[in-house]
């Protein structure tokens, strides 16, 4: 039996049994954050908070939702929206949250790309973050199936058809994923399971991993400056707060995070209460009908760029392009051959690479929403080719980059 002293407080009692003091130091009061950062460094905690809100609103939706092709549509559009007290609130929060979580993920990603926060010991942060992006995408797609409207059905049809692999004609695989020849009851119930259990579990696990990968290399700063965190921490602990380059994560940095979150949640709830329609496609208010395709099928805005990469090519080439586009961002830390960890503005050609990539993805996003006709097809094709040209150019231009 281990030896225990009589505790004088609840805190001491817990500390003896759970080492809460050590835990608090490691994760909060002695987890050091550089001072030289800006509001973009708050996006991580903004994402964590949004995930929390999605979880809570999801729990309330789950109490009335019915995963059955005969009753799903009404359980959402009738029961939750008109009968359940404040049911509309949970649905609008859930829809707006799903959209905003991707907006912040993209900002978070491009912040990391701009400041070079995926390099020199920070590769795992980038990889686990990309993994989160992929799992969040699967979570968003599976959730989109649940109201069982026309867009749910046809998005399910088109996306599962991707797995036939074009000329490979792997229809057996597609039918296996669906559990039927077309998306039907078995399809809805299994995507329901994925959306409410398996994928959220995976997301929570990968979030823990993502935080873990951050602990040792620490977060980057606005200049990509490399410095001794131990030394800076000693200064801070010695009371020389001004001279030190760091602040503790909690409560000092977290209070700044909370301020940014405050601004963000004004936007969040403004959208939830006054502009929720943007996250509610009108076509999805028609019940699923396997014998009628909607005039235009397009995904939610956050998938449009990769959807547009699929569109302008022939079927096989389009599938290959689409598959490559989904995973190419994983390779970023290895395709960037430059030793410099610095903001893109100081990195010569990479500056142009960054801004062209950002603009190109915006162009792809807009073209993805427009019908596949005439000039839009051409612009889409050029933007898709530019996307791949940029990735081919990346190792070349970063290799020739001068060391700062």
């Amino acid at each position: 039996m281990a030896h225990f002293e009589k505790a004088n407080s609840i805190g001491e009692w817990l500390d003896q049994r759970l080492a809460v003091e050590t835990l608090k130091k490691v994760m909060q009061t002695e987890y050091w954050i550089p001072k030289n950062i800006n509001f973009l460094w708050a996006m991580g905690m903004v994402l964590a908070a949004t995930f929390g809100i999605l979880l809570v609103s999801g729990i309330f939706l789950l109490m009335y939702y019915k995963p059955d092709t005969a009753t799903a549509f009404d359980s959402v559009n009738y029961t939750i929206m008109t009968e359940v007290g404040y049911g509309w609130l949970w649905r609008h929060i859930h829809g707006v949250g799903a959209s905003l979580v991707f907006l912040i993920i993209y900002i978070h990603m491009f912040t990391g790309i701009y400041y070079g926060s995926y390099k020199k010991g920070r590769e795992l942060i980038w990889l686990s973050g990309m993994l989160l992006f992929v799992v969040f995408s699967a979570e968003a797609f599976s959730g989109y199936m649940l109201p069982w409207g026309q867009m749910s059905y046809w998005a399910g049809m088109v996306i599962t058809n991707l797995f036939s692999g074009g000329s490979l004609e792997a229809y057996g695989l597609v039918e296996w994923i669906r559990g039927d020849y077309v998306p039907a009851d078995a399809f809805l119930t299994r995507f329901f399971m994925l959306h409410v259990l398996l994928l959220p579990l995976v997301i929570i696990g990968v979030i823990v991993l993502h935080f873990g990968t951050l602990r040792i290399p620490h977060v980057n700063n606005q200049d990509g400056e490399e410095f001794d965190f131990e030394e800076a921490a000693e200064l801070y602990k010695a009371g020389k707060v001004k001279e030190s380059k760091v602040i503790p994560f909690s409560p000092v940095f977290l209070s700044k995070d909370v301020f940014v979150m405050g601004i963000y949640f004004i936007l969040f709830f403004y959208l939830t209460f006054y502009h929720f329609q943007f996250a509610m496609d009108p076509v999805n208010f028609d019940p699923a009908d396997g014998l009628k395709t909607p005039a235009h099928i397009y995904p939610e805005w956050y998938f449009l760029w990769s959807y547009e990469i699929l569109r302008p090519f022939s079927k096989d080439l389009g599938l290959v392009a689409f598959a490559v586009a989904q995973v190419i961002f994983f390779a970023l830390p290895f395709l960037d051959r430059s030793p410099n960890v610095a903001p893109a503005s100081r990195r010569g050609l990479f500056k142009y690479w960054f801004w062209i990539m950002l603009v190109d993805m915006l162009v792809l996003t807009f073209m993805g929403k427009l019908p596949p006709q005439g000039i839009w097809n051409t612009i889409g094709l050029v933007a898709a080719l530019t996307f791949f040209a940029l990735w081919i150019a990346l190792p070349i231009i970063t290799k020739s980059e001068k060391k700062l």
Binding site: V158, I177, G179, P294
Partner: protein, 166 residues
């Protein structure tokens, strides 16, 4: 001592792997289409009342089936299904690109898919856009003035052998 421990480790690892593979197989089988889904299956279409150049959409295994009676001025094709003296175009009404349902434009005698702009002629051949192959023909059997979907008749088998559909 260490040998005994190694043996225990390998024995445990072996049985665990075996159980793991068995569990994976069970999981794979649980995702398979149910027997009731697979068995659900024959649709009989009576085409005696069909009008020329008017698309009729039937449902077979949850999928839309195009049945189009061709008029005399429409080009004959090896893929046509002949019932009595009439020629019919019969196909699974899902674009071979990614599975949207193309719309029929009677004036142009062609199918147009809104999703990615693919086009097919009235015999189901791809004529524009991303579709890589003609509209598929479902297994069928001609029985008097009806077409039975889901059953492979001699005409269907001939088309299959000739590579006119997959």
């Amino acid at each position: 001592m260490s040998n005994r421990r190694d043996f225990m480790g390998m024995a445990l690892g072996g049985f665990t792997a075996l159980g793991g593979v068995a569990a994976l197989y069970a999981m794979k089988r649980s995702w398979d289409p149910l027997p009731s889904v697979k068995a659900a299956g024959f649709t009989t279409v009576d085409v005696s009342g069909a009008q020329e150049n008017v698309l009729n959409v039937e449902k077979w295994r949850g999928k839309p089936i195009f049945v189009l009676k061709k008029s005399k001025d429409m080009k004959a094709d090896d893929r046509d299904v002949i019932v009595g003296s009439d020629r019919f175009h019969v196909s699974i009404g899902l674009c071979t690109h990614l599975g949207c349902i193309p719309a029929y434009i009677p004036d142009d005698h062609k199918f147009l898919c809104a999703c990615h702009g693919g086009e097919f002629d009235a015999s189901g051949h791809e004529i524009f856009g991303p579709p890589p192959s003609p509209l598929e023909i479902p297994p069928f059997k001609v029985d008097g003035t009806t077409i039975v979907l889901g059953e492979s008749g001699p005409e269907y088998k001939k088309m299959l052998d000739a590579g006119l559909t997959v």
